[in-house]
């Protein structure tokens, strides 16, 4: 039991505060090697994390770095620095606090390495960079505590794995280091605790009072939600109304494109000129900072935003959170709702806005899940090896290392504790020689083993390039967008999107309609075009797939005799489906066959999430092609796949034979675009492809070539290469999501209901309006290309050539 020192006691008293039980618990157990606190936003979480450090440092006898604070966002580090200043200044504590992020100046960074502050606030990437310096032992000597904020967000991605690997390094440099994790509500706290602690240390979980349940409802409008789409334009008047009735509203969207379109429509309808801003990851930093500042100052009534505002920056008085589009994932919804009402013990208020008819069902299912405190999430796999490869390179930058020792160190990381020595050696070999079956790089190895057995960089100058490529955040190649003749960028668009633009095309960025003029020095030049409606959405973006738990809830809902919880129009729709066909059941696959516009259609209800249903579409059409059923195309959503073709499917059962599906999957996978995309990510992280070339892509000349070429070459000549193995494992879990196809096959165990009908069914109707139709077969693609070329030839009057 540690009593609060008098100076702290007084400070709490002058503020009129009582120390929260969880803050006390964190203090009492501060000497434990690892602790995790789960607390809602506004629950004094940050102070709970820092209190033991402030007390220890208040004596003024610690020299050098004492506490490291790591958060997923640069902005969060700056925010915390401001918040920490208050107690430190008011108690006049002899504590130096600094932050270190990508935005910190070069001089400041150099000084921090020579003379570290007591408390350093940073991000996982900046920390990894710090550990790559030769003087890392000096910087981290004497480090006592590390506080990882928003650990639930980090733990979901490779950034968390990188951070924990860096921590294993720090633990060696500073053996007394204790770890603290601060987390929002999650479905499996123990899993995150296991990742936080040094394996096999225990990690206690302290739960703060979660506060009252949120006040959450679904927006029901007079107007019926449309059959499909994600814009929720129909709900604009109702949303504006809600904004007017509240002080500050956050309006969350699932994708940037939807946020842009919604913001645009909101402005057109905003006749009262309410101050409303937009915030998402593709806007220029300046623009984001302006919005953030206006928000803090209380100048905005609403912000249209995406996940970029998901994390716990304190925006002040948000009293309503609106989620537009079905949340797809209950945990994320709960965390977003937590953004409203930062006052402890006041319920958060939130409104769900379904964007289309099916999302009404999804929203109701999500509401029920929130009420039942039933969070979802997928168990994480073992520590990713591409991140380990990068860690090995980072270690090499800091100086020669011993492989045995590094292996020991890596296996103290929870996610890597079952890593075999053989797997580790594969990664080391990859870093050293490229790991190719053709041992081509004997002369130019990246890492060399010295006579004393330690490994070092062949060329020490390589350290600079490795440092420039630290990080696991996968940024798609983007191009800056700016107004012609204006220096200031408006934001960024994906390179692939920019490539589809021709002069005169209009699109939305930062809420403005702009006209594409030209591409100059790798910058998209645009002019302002307020008078025209935008032709295209700006971002491709991937869509979230519905979580397994949510899908199951929806299936359970279908099982009900009636649906009092659903609005009339939606209940009626489900009723019609039951009458004319049947509603899908959890342990059966429903297949509907019907003709439409002269083509035979089948609609397969598998409820395996968008990515898996997309994969299923590929596999089924491939098999249909072999059976000469002439499939022409398909489209997938979270719950179904619709396929059309020239011949009817009379017996779908063989299509779903697990052995067939698995065999088809193997052939299909290797040539797949998703694989190439996944490969690109893994290869970049592992250091096979450089992201930040010192002489950036300034000329747009052929300096870089597509990573697809590397993928194809490697698949052809070295199919068992480490990078391909990593790619495969990841694709199975991620975008290909074969795991959920397997889950669907197990769940339904060959029970297939095939209904042959004479027209489009109610539940399949939205599928016809779904975007992202895929044409079948490589031959079809060539045909489209040839037809387009022929058309252009004819237009140009050179068809005779």
């Amino acid at each position: 039991m540690s009593a609060l020192p008098p100076i702290f006691e007084n400070w709490f008293a002058t503020r009129g505060w009582d120390i929260h039980p969880h803050q006390k618990a964190m203090l009492d157990r501060a000497s434990e090697p690892a602790l995790m606190l789960i607390a809602p936003t506004g629950g004094g979480k940050t102070l709970a994390g820092f209190l033991p450090s402030l007390i220890a440092l208040s004596e003024g006898n610690h020299a050098g770095l004492h506490t490291l604070y790591v958060s997923p966002l640069k902005a969060l580090a700056a925010d915390i620095k401001r918040n920490l200043r208050t107690p430190v200044d008011e108690m006049n504590l002899p504590i130096r606090i600094e932050d270190r992020t990508g935005d910190t100046t070069y001089t400041q960074k150099r000084r921090q390495r020579a003379d570290p502050p007591h408390i350093l606030l940073t991000t996982p990437e900046s920390l990894a960079l710090l550990t790559s310096y030769e003087d890392a032992p000096h910087i981290f000597k004497g480090l006592q505590r590390i506080i990882i904020d928003e650990i639930h967000a980090l733990a979901e991605s490779k950034r968390g794995d990188q951070l924990m690997l860096a921590l294993s390094r720090l633990q060696t440099l500073a053996p007394g280091l204790r770890r603290v994790g601060l987390s929002a509500t999650v479905e499996d706290p123990a899993a995150i605790a296991r990742e936080l602690a040094q394996h096999p240390d225990p990690c206690a979980i302290i739960n703060a009072d979660p506060g009252p349940d949120p006040d959450i409802a679904m927006l029901v409008t007079e107007e019926r939600p449309p059959w499909t789409g994600g814009g929720a334009k129909y709900a604009i008047p109702a949303v504006l109304d809600a904004v007017k009735k509240h002080k500050t509203t956050l309006i969350f969207h699932n994708t940037r494109a939807q946020a842009e379109i919604f913001f645009h429509n909101l402005w057109l309808a905003n006749t009262d000129d309410l101050p409303i801003g937009i915030h998402h990851g593709s806007l220029s930093r300046e623009q984001r900072e302006n919005v953030e500042a206006a928000m803090v100052a209380g100048d905005l009534r609403a912000i249209v935003c995406t996940g970029s505002l998901d994390l716990g920056i304190d925006w002040g008085d948000v009293d309503l959170v609106i989620q537009v589009g079905a949340p797809k994932n209950v945990k994320r919804l709960v965390q977003r709702i937590g953004r409203a009402n930062h006052r402890y013990n006041a319920p958060s208020k939130a409104l769900l806005v379904p964007a289309n008819r099916f999302e009404v069902v999804e929203c109701v299912a999500a509401l029920e899940a929130v009420k039942a405190h039933d969070l979802d999430g997928d168990p994480k796999g073992a520590g990713p090896r591409d991140v380990l490869c990068q860690h090995i390179l980072i270690t090499a930058c800091a100086g020669p290392f011993d492989a045995d020792q590094l292996y020991q160190e890596v296996t103290t990381v929870g996610a890597y504790h079952s890593l075999t020595r053989a797997d580790f050696d594969d990664c080391l070999d990859f870093c050293a020689t490229g790991g190719y079956a053709l041992r081509a790089y004997d002369k130019w190895k990246r890492l060399l083993q010295r006579p004393d057995g330690k490994w070092q960089l062949r060329d020490p100058r390589a350290a600079q390039r490795i440092r420039m490529n630290i990080g696991t955040i996968q940024d798609t190649d983007t191009l800056k967008v700016r107004l012609k003749g204006n220096f200031k960028p408006l934001g960024e668009v994906e390179e692939a999107f920019a490539a589809t633009l021709t002069q005169g095309d209009t699109f939305l960025i930062g809420g403005q309609v702009v006209r594409y003029e030209n591409l100059k020095d790798m910058t998209v030049e645009v002019s302002r075009r307020a008078d025209k409606t935008p032709k295209i959405a700006t971002f491709m973006g991937t869509k979230f797939a519905n979580s397994t738990q949510l899908s199951q809830r929806i299936l359970r809902m279908f099982d009900q005799p009636d649906w009092p919880a659903l609005p009339g129009h939606t209940a009626e729709w489900l009723g019609l489906q039951r009458k004319y066909s049947k509603l899908p059941e959890a342990n059966r696959i429903l297949v509907e066959s019907f003709p439409h516009e002269g083509r035979h259609h089948i609609c397969v209800y598998g409820f395996a999430g968008r990515n898996a249903m997309q994969t299923l579409g590929m596999l089924l059409t491939q098999r249909m092609e072999e059976l000469d059923l002439h499939p022409m195309g398909f489209v997938a959503s979270d719950y179904a796949t619709l396929i059309w073709g020239l011949d009817p499917v009379t017996d779908p059962v063989p299509l779903f034979k697990p052995d067939n599906i698995r065999a088809d999957f193997e052939t299909w996978l290797s040539g797949n675009a998703v694989m190439k995309k996944t490969f690109r990510g893994a290869a970049t992280i592992a250091g096979l492809i450089e992201r930040n070339l010192p002489q950036a892509r300034k000329s747009g000349r052929q300096a870089t070539f597509s990573s697809d070429i590397l993928y194809d070459t490697l698949s052809k000549y070295d199919p068992d290469h480490l990078m391909l193995r990593i790619t495969r494992e990841e694709a199975l879990r991620g975008l290909v999501d074969f795991g959920r196809i397997e889950e669907m096959l197990t769940r339904t165990a060959g029970r297939i209901d095939h209904l042959i009908l004479d027209r489009v069914t109610p539940l399949s109707l939205p599928m016809f309006l779904e975007r992202g139709r895929v044409a079948v077969a490589g031959a079809a693609q060539d045909r489209i290309l040839e037809e387009e070329a022929a058309r252009l030839m004819e237009q140009a009057g050179v068809a005779a050539l």
């Binding site: 130019w444 990246r446 960089l457 747009g700 052929q702 070539f705 590397l710 387009e788 050179v798």
Partner: protein, 214 residues
Amino acid sequence: MNNFDFTLCGTRCSALPSGALWLPDYATLCVSDLHLGKSERIARRSGVMLPPYEVQETLGKLARDIDSAAPACIICLGDSFDDLDAATGLNDAMRLWLARLQAGRKWVWIEGNHDPGPIDLGGTHLSETVVGTLSFRHIATTASAEVSGHYHPKHRIAGRSRPAFLYDQERLILPAYGAYTGGLSSQAPDLRKLFRTSPMAVLTGRKAIPVPVA
């Protein structure tokens, strides 16, 4: 037929889907920008070790074209090697393969900006050469009746970008033939200014597809 035939300044030309140019009247096959040894050069200079299979891939493609066309003469139109050290660094198996491809035919290495000096790999080393009415050099000049490479042109239609031949009445620019090569868009000013009129593009791939450049 998957080739695309056209006539440039009186000489019959055939664009192969692989990116090679075939001159039927002279039994000559021309390929540009092989960039052999690119992965070796990158490893040497940056430490990044790309899959070291691009020489195999590129020579394999060339071997297939040679097999089907049976040329009497082959012109490599410059940047055949990513640099001169990459040429010397070629391993024995690849040298042997190259020697086999060269056997029984005339082989011309045109010098490029990446490989400006002579190389110890058989064949004739020239700064430029003439076949029929056409001159062959690595980088385009203002001269008429010219075939060159260097720019790695690509052209995009229907949302897909592919390496492409570009030609008008006066000149032809070949796509890069090497496996590890990026490309420059047909829209790029550096490329467009070489043509007095809007050029035609011939896309490479499964089939050589002609399309006018807008």
